[in-house]
């Protein structure tokens, strides 16, 4: 399923989120079960299926990482189900250091300062990676698509770090 086609948006990484929201609501309304109450069983089922596609598509296009994965999949680079290990040693060492930093927060005398520091670091690196991702996807060449896939893999580690940090921040407040 091509979600860009479903929402009639250009197949590119940068998406107008307001436009996406407007079209989502319009499509939701169009395929609402109430409109198919007196339709044939087949049409009712099709409408239910389409409503599910609309929801899936909206969530995939709204979130930058899922959107990038969807765009790459449309271009023939599928990474969502891969189980291959990531082996960029320099990047992983940096991740290890960030994880160690997070692990120290819990026992620190002033956790709030450390949480702010970590948050800033993670946000900055995420922002840089997202900018690189946008640029790579803009080229629409296979080589740049493979580079984009690698950036997505890196971004996933940062999203995980963010989750961990959120968890730690919650715990220190208790």
């Amino acid at each position: 399923m091509n979600y860009y086609q479903l929402f009639q948006l250009p197949a590119q990484f940068d998406v107008d989120l307001t436009e996406l929201g407007t079209r989502y609501l319009a499509l939701q309304k169009q395929f609402h079960p109430d409109n198919f109450a007196s339709a044939s069983e087949r049409d009712r089922l099709l409408a239910v299926q389409q409503a599910a596609n609309i929801n899936d598509g909206y969530h995939s296009l709204k979130q930058p990482l899922l959107r990038a994965e969807h765009l790459l999949a449309l271009r023939g680079v599928k990474i969502s189900a891969e189980q291959r290990s990531f082996t960029d040693t320099v990047f992983l060492l940096q991740q290890m250091e960030l994880r160690e930093l997070l692990a120290e927060i819990a026992d620190a005398p002033d956790p709030d300062t450390l949480i702010d520091d970590a948050e800033r670091q993670i946000r900055l690196q995420k922002k840089q990676l997202l900018a690189t991702l946008s640029a790579a996807l803009g080229h629409d060449t296979h080589e740049q698509d493979l580079a984009a896939a690698d950036i997505i893999r890196k971004l996933k580690f940062f999203f995980k770090l963010e989750q961990e940090l959120e968890f730690i921040a919650q715990q220190t407040q208790d």
Partner: protein, 127 residues
Amino acid sequence: MAYSNKVIDHYENPRNVGAFAKDDPTVATGMVGAPACGDVMKLQIKVNEQGIIEDAKFKTYGCGSAIASSSLVTEWVKGKSLDEAAQIKNTDIAQELALPPVKIHCSILAEDAIKAAIADYKQRHGS
């Protein structure tokens, strides 16, 4: 999802956690990660002149299965030659720890970590 007793044992009493001195020439390091769950695994081996792995250490940030898989591998590789250690299969790890299908990737990560450490050693020692 319930963890098996072996996973819980390795998770609560992980074997060989830590790191060797970075500049030790007999030490090699394997770093791997799983983007899907954000797990990061570091596995180090200390190899003697006969090419036997004398000691191993690991540090893993991830779920219980990832920690247990790397802990188990550090136990298994001790006393093995590099070639023997390279034979360790993720399916052996998964079977030993009774990992459910959704956690198989943790055992793949541990297999890749030991392979990466062996490759690092061979690259450093030109063999």
